[in-house]
Amino acid sequence: MAKTSAAPLNLDPVPSPSATAGFSPRRRRRISLTAQYAVFVIVVAAVALQVDWAAVQEHFLDLGVARETFPGLLTVALRNTVLYTLSGYVLGFLLGIVLALMRLSSVPLHRWTALLYIEIFRGLPALVIFLIIGFGIPVAFPGFALPGDIYGQVALALGLVSAAYMAETFRAGIQAVPKGQMESARCLGMSHSRAMFSIVVPQALRIVVPPLTNELVLLFKDSSLAFVLGVTAATTELAKYGSDVAADQADSTPLVVAGLGYLLITVPLGILVRRLESRRAERG
């Protein structure tokens, strides 16, 4: 009796945890993925069924209205958006490098000034900075006008905003350059600042290209704040232009078109950043 009941038990293989659950790990993974796709499709379909497509088409995707936004969208609005952004970016870039070097200086006055600047301008909403530039400066310095008028104001506002972020990025990049680089440059008789500019900063710039490109994307969006300074038909930019035409036509399609104008620039930049980052990952 004992013999017959013991024999089949000994012949059984040891049950693995997955076998007890009924599926192999690979099988379970496939089931899980299939379930996720199913949920995704169901959610998208449910939302799509709720949308009033006729109304959307009329108010957001009216091709006739979309045509009305051209050519001003490209020749004026997009052009100004690019101008505002690039001029602000260049200013922020230069100021950012100076602030980063001050942050790393051995002179406490430099360090504290830079830190104060960064904390203030990183903490303030960009809108507040635009308002200060637009309405604070004329009050504080009567008779003083920035060169380029509104172009100068926007460039300065965007430059001040982005400099704070870029300074922190540069600082991280400079600190990521191995200490031996500065030391071997000093051993060749270079002064600290000479070594900084000829040896350390060029290497730091390569490290920070991806985050700085991200900053450019952010700045493109912030350039829409130019409207608070009171832009004219000639100095308008994408967002303002879109909303103006939308109000004119009593239709929201121009906003969609203006939005596409931003994506036209930011999506390629995003692709560029991912390229740069994967190239960096490859090179190690």
Partner: protein, 274 residues
Amino acid sequence: MTTAQPAVEVVGLHKSYGGLDVIKGVDLRIAPGEVVCVIGPSGSGKSTLLRCVNMLEEPTSGVVLVDGVRMNHPDTDLDAARRRMGMVFQMFHLFPHLTVLGNVTIAQRRVLKRDRAEAERVGRDCLARVGVEDKADVYPEQLSGGQQQRVAIARALAMNPGVMLFDEPTSALDPELVGEVLTVIRDLGLDGMTMLVVTHEMAFARDVADRVVFMDAGVIVEEGLPSQVIDDPRHERTRTFLQRVLGPQGSAAPGPGSTSTGRTHEYHCHTQHG
């Protein structure tokens, strides 16, 4: 016998980090053309000594003179004073964003203000001297460790230094690449370069050094001819260290070209590079 001014003179050197005394009173004179090898256990302060000589670290007290110029003095133009010395690091520290030729010309251009043609001529000469002239246009990452270290030596030589400092120049290299670098350093010594070399290569020290200095715990324990310090050390601490580095029968194998121990390398044969 050397009444001439020493190339390097260190007097009463102390260096501490916070409360940690790393160099505890070191005196060292190096005559022009002399090759001094510094040996000693890890953490004994060898790198710190070198770094105090060219002021990468500021001595806590004591005097460092190079060509009679006092290095640790507020009135000294350090950048100018450092030009008298070349330094070669364990990890090479080539400039990765510049080509090999860029590495050996940038300081000539920016510091000595030589024009491009002159800097490149000097740079190529120095590259030829260390046997990597054919690599002038590649980037450092494309070179072997031995080639990188030879470029680092050429980079220092391009500034016409009177003294060369080496901090374990072969410790980061694969064993088969050690010889090519040691050969270059030995040839520099034969050409009359004044050198202070921190090394763990005992066969090299025995063969090339005019004098060997043994450091332990921040002081010079003993110094003298290689045959004396390496093969017949007087101090117990030196003997213990050498036994660890060379193995039990190491110090009993004197004579030129002795290659009976694990840490020696046949660097003599590598007269041809590349």
